[in-house]
Subunit: 406 residues, 2 copies
Amino acid sequence: MARIVMKFGGTSMAGIERIRNVASRVKREVEAGNEVAVVVSAMAGETDRLVGFCREASPLHDPREYDVVVAAGEQVTSGLLAITLQAMGVPARSWLGWQLPIHTSDAHSSARILGMETGPVGEAMTRGEVAVIPGFQGLADGNRVTTLGRGGSDTSAVAVAAALKAERCDIYTDVDGVYTTDPRIVPRARKLERVTYEEMLELASVGAKVLQTRSVELAMKEKVRVQVLSSFNDTPGTFVVDEDEVVEQQLITGVAYNRNEAKITVVEVPDRPGSVGALFGPLAEANVNVDMIVQNIAHDTGNTDVTFTVPRTDLPKSLDVLDKAKADIGYSRLITDDNVAKISVVGVGMRSHAGVAQTMFQALGSRGINIQAITTSEIKVSVLIAEEYTELAVRVLHTAYGLDAA
Amino acid sequence: MARIVMKFGGTSMAGIERIRNVASRVKREVEAGNEVAVVVSAMAGETDRLVGFCREASPLHDPREYDVVVAAGEQVTSGLLAITLQAMGVPARSWLGWQLPIHTSDAHSSARILGMETGPVGEAMTRGEVAVIPGFQGLADGNRVTTLGRGGSDTSAVAVAAALKAERCDIYTDVDGVYTTDPRIVPRARKLERVTYEEMLELASVGAKVLQTRSVELAMKEKVRVQVLSSFNDTPGTFVVDEDEVVEQQLITGVAYNRNEAKITVVEVPDRPGSVGALFGPLAEANVNVDMIVQNIAHDTGNTDVTFTVPRTDLPKSLDVLDKAKADIGYSRLITDDNVAKISVVGVGMRSHAGVAQTMFQALGSRGINIQAITTSEIKVSVLIAEEYTELAVRVLHTAYGLDAA
């Protein structure tokens, strides 16, 4: 007998028919002798509907009241799942964020979970009652409703699993696990049995949107074993676990791509102390997430060119910010390119192996793909290339690192 | 400066455009120097949608979880009205049922309000902040969400007004007040300036569905001055007040009708002690609300006929109950008629005037309308007639009691 947390997203909760499917899966785990807590999202589309109301009421809405409005979506599905479980003969009750409570910071609409009280809910689970917990919501000091930001239900599930000391946290989604790369591009992509927290984080950061990044960070911090699996079939999923649990390490675990970046080159920036601060400071203040940065050596003129990438949606804002700061920075002009893609290879194995980047450069070079920028982390190498080569680059690298299924 | 409670129903809250209209009315009261609490219903149709989900999930749903689901509707409109008020420059915040809290019994889905804590919300109002309070919801012992039953928002508003010692409770609806009778039947019906609690209760019980009965009972008990008025125009409404406030009493205040009854005659019931108990006991157990009862004197046979009315929707259930109890009761057969209507005249003035019933019988008799049953209370006379005479009877009585507008 084990204690487990199961989390179902909006697609799995969209309508009573699907909620029955969810309840059947929960019942199966209960009948296998497990103590179960279920974390649920709002019905697909419901959060958008509620957010739409808030925006229509006022573009600059009070985030405390926004939280009151949007938290209602998960409240509804929690009650409905409890009713459905009971109708199947499974004892169940809903525990709303304020009832448990799940304590959060008071950063309304993007609160962070601080802790959760487990006394009464733990006792109920020990008595054999399934605890249905709305994801996404919590309670701040002052007894106000908070929400964790979009996608926050994954984080709720991991936090609940940590607080309840669950053996694992099963996250049911519309994909059946984490793959070596996007199977739509590489049909021979393989589903991974296990992936480490660090790899999952790097994969998420470069576009593999299986789990919300914060949920993986929290799982890593709290050492919660997470399984990603499909709510529509019965195949085993992918475990996201500590490095110790991954016995046979691949050099590279996966290849990811991200087409949501744009490149900006700032031409002829004075090569003197403080100039980079003058460049990136205003962007940070404007909440632009600068990703890859390349600075060349200075020209004879005492100037240098700086190239970096920003999220494509932030390109207009970034140019606006840089334009206003032109005098401070002292550059001559800007060159932009949003036909770029970032290709990344990720794997904890590269820590102990040299030559990973070299394999990448050679493989891409052999197909005539030019590399415009490079960044590396301990377990990731990313390159920026022209967007039109995206699929080719992913396929070439998937083969070059021996990831193709037999 | 006064403290007032304003209550808006689902039609007034259906969509942001209408919520803006509500916010404008609230703003006007704030600018007039009033401290305002607003009690809101869910958007029109939303509660039906949520109830539908619960029924689809299970016909026999746990009322505790049902309450969690349906309370979400008022939560959403509360947050949205607070946002809208703020956007108009009016300080406002939502206070959910569990935040205040509004204490209720644990009769989930039809809970009764026991009391409300007014400390923090009262202080906020004194600071000039509008308190937006979801109707219909409360909190039971054990920290569980409760709801008051359909139409409970009127009751919430009156309870809030009582707790906050408000000068009055304005209930905004889609009619602009209480009329001497249905203006669709009698174009010369007049809007009443004032009506007493007792009259309002009797009018509500016989079909004038302006206010929920429980809210009037509570207003009477707590001496809350209620005003019924339209949220779509600016004309003064009708005050529902204590008898002392009604200076110039009419003999009759209003004429009401109710087509939702059905008549059952139980033929040849043994005329002995206990037989009436054997008849009405099982109906009470089946939650059938028996209204008018007529028992004739016994026949020579030692049997009597008993006639009574039940809500038309309960007719099949009633017949089923009586069929099962046939041996116990010992009657010979049942005669039913659902083509009946109940016509009532209501007025506190009739306490001190004889002849009110006689006027009624003569007026109806003069038009050849046969009376099938009669009940009276201290301030009401009701008769049962064939349904086809409903409009004629209402018009005749409206004229007979001098209620027609000049």
